[in-house]
Symmetry: C2
Subunit: 377 residues, 2 copies
């Protein structure tokens, strides 16, 4: 344990009160909507965060890499959905998890991979549980709810002795909206598409126990989730400026920030130079095309008070350029003298977290616990 | 040691033949120009790469974090320039390096930090060597060559008993140009500004043994470096698509790529989905405003042949979207079947490398050594 003012900069800070509030808000919503909640742990990749999600009522987790599956299985979590279409060369690692007792679920959106999983499973006397990925918004992967391939893939899995666990979808395009109406619509589109796919499977006599949907914006916007059995979301635990622009969190819900120190000025330009560049913030410019462009992040005081109009307007590897968005602040040197410590709210929590070997978790105004996080594949 | 086809994807590949060629090209140029060369090791953060630079004739290194200084000092390198203005709270770490025998140089561009270094040095009976950072292109930090503060800072350092080691500048705006003429001009501007600052110091009776300049584009474009004692550059060792657009390397000079596997398709859109998303490529979109926008990267075959017109046009955390830049390729599924392995050339080698715990270094067409790299501060 250490203290906030003993931290060297740059450092990734988690405000644990905000984290806990965000976790409870989502879980309460899921309880009200009557669905299981399976958080996506790719955002923080941190056992402490995931433990808080499980303690609040989450059942099982979602991962984006087999490394996450292995790490979280080692920390005691068995119900794990690997929510990226598996490449065939990764099947031995998935098998190793299965053989250790991990209740790992794979996803698939094409007959070639379905066939390869079946063949590999049979050859190794293993029964993989597989979910079919459905594309409900044209965002990236998955097959359309009405695609003939849906039944074909399910039959292939059945015939090869694998477990047809259900279907899943992720309306990632929900990040592109910013009004409650549009978010409700995309949430309903995600729900309806998933339920339609499940219905088609069942009508064809194929099993579809799980109907899994989710993204942070749709999870927080759905009016009802009839026919859905579980929801997935990740960034809601930390939130970020992109989610703020989407309209699903306030600035003071954002639990992740980067602590930084002023190391120089260019007075005539109204710049303060800080020691958080893109290596600490990430290169994510997710707010660039949104209603409010926060540059590389929103500047706050060391204790977290938002300094309206001050953003990281530029970033080199280890230099951040802090400036006022409107008029040039010629008093920047006096406002933020050398050595001033600030917090910067990030555009994208998943990307910013990934730049840091650990988090400094603020458990009170001053006390800090170091929470590990991992990276790689 | 392993082999290329045994690597799991995504993986950061270094083509060691290209790396060696890039290193020799730069060193030969520096030898011809008659200056010392001090490579910036922030690009790869990998002892193997730095050893190759030293073996080729580099003298000393440049770092962007104290973590890099510590790691490379442990690996046996003593002459280290920490080329980011130090924040005062980091002085104890710098002192620890000094006391272990590291010939660490700090930089400063303001009187407050100069004073703090002097006071800290005196209080701990330590003599820091300090260089003054000069701003020759308005890019970020540093003081103008003709700024009165230049002499003031140098006198402050002298008076407090620190070593005035010289001046340094980095014309980072050279990344914004793409013609040989413009690059020669910015290189000359960088040189002339640095030499002017050194001259002013000497005329005032202040020492300025080192005159250090550099960026990859200016180092490769300068016509002469009269008055300069050393050059710094980093990305030249690996190169990337941004440097290709600047015009200082060919596509087949780029030594870093990300190995990836096709995991799905959206045929009607002409998409192949691969397992290298932004977590593997970084969120860097550095070519977005350049003459040729490569999206998140240029697609090549597994053996490195450029597939013209195919780029990573989109990226989610662990999904990359591969498509043709012109006409939609409706034959994408047959062209890149499930399981196809590809290499993606990155926009920005520093950012892409930082996403990976290690490099897979191709020592021949097939043999691969694993080279460690580190991250954090």
């Amino acid at each position: 344990m250490t203290t906030l003012n003993a931290l060297e900069t740059p450092a990734a800070l988690i405000d644990t009160q905000r984290l806990q509030r965000n976790i409870e808000r989502m879980q309460a919503r899921m309880d009200t909507l009557g669905v299981r909640f399976r958080p996506h742990v790719k955002t923080a990749k941190c056992p402490n965060v995931t433990q808080a999600q499980i303690a609040a009522g989450a059942r099982g987790i979602t991962v984006s890499t087999l490394k996450e599956a292995e790490q979280f299985f080692e920390s005691g979590i068995t119900d794990i959905l690997y929510a990226v279409g598996i490449s065939i060369d990764k099947l031995p690692r998935a098998l190793a998890l299965l053989e250790k007792g991990c209740d790992l679920k794979l996803i698939v959106d094409n007959i070639d991979t379905a066939r390869a999983i079946g063949e590999f499973g049979k050859a190794h006397d293993a029964t993989f549980e597989v979910w079919i990925e459905i594309d409900t918004d044209g965002h990236r992967s998955g097959i359309k709810p009405d695609d003939e391939a849906l039944l074909e893939i399910a039959r292939e899995l059945q015939d090869s002795g694998m477990t047809m666990g259900g279907i899943m979808t992720h309306a990632g395009s929900s990040y592109d909206y910013h009004t409650p109406e549009a978010l409700r619509e995309i949430a309903e589109q995600e729900r309806a598409g998933a339920v339609r796919a499940a219905q088609r499977l069942r009508e064809a006599g194929l099993p579809c126990p799980v109907v899994s949907v989710g993204s942070t914006p749709t999870a927080l916007s759905a009016e009802h989730l009839d026919g859905v059995t579980e929801v997935r979301a990740g960034v809601y635990a930390l939130f970020d400026l992109v989610m703020h622009n989407v309209g699903v969190c306030a600035l003071d819900d954002i639990a992740l920030s980067v602590l930084t120190t002023v190391i120089g000025h260019q007075e005539e330009k109204g710049w303060a130079v800080v020691d958080a560049g893109w290596m600490a913030m990430s290169r994510d410019r997710g707010t660039q095309k949104q209603t409010h462009d926060f540059g590389f992040g929103q500047v706050c005081t060391e204790d977290g008070t938002v300094l309206e109009g001050y953003i990281l307007s530029g970033a080199n590897q280890e230099h951040g350029i802090l400036s006022h968005v409107g008029e040039t602040d010629h008093d920047i040197r006096n406002r933020f003298p050398i050595g001033t410590r600030l917090r910067i709210l990030p555009n994208h929590a998943c990307a910013t977290g990934a730049q840091h070997p650990h988090y400094a978790a603020l458990t009170s105004d001053e006390s800090v616990d170091i929470w590990p996080r991992f990276y790689g594949w």
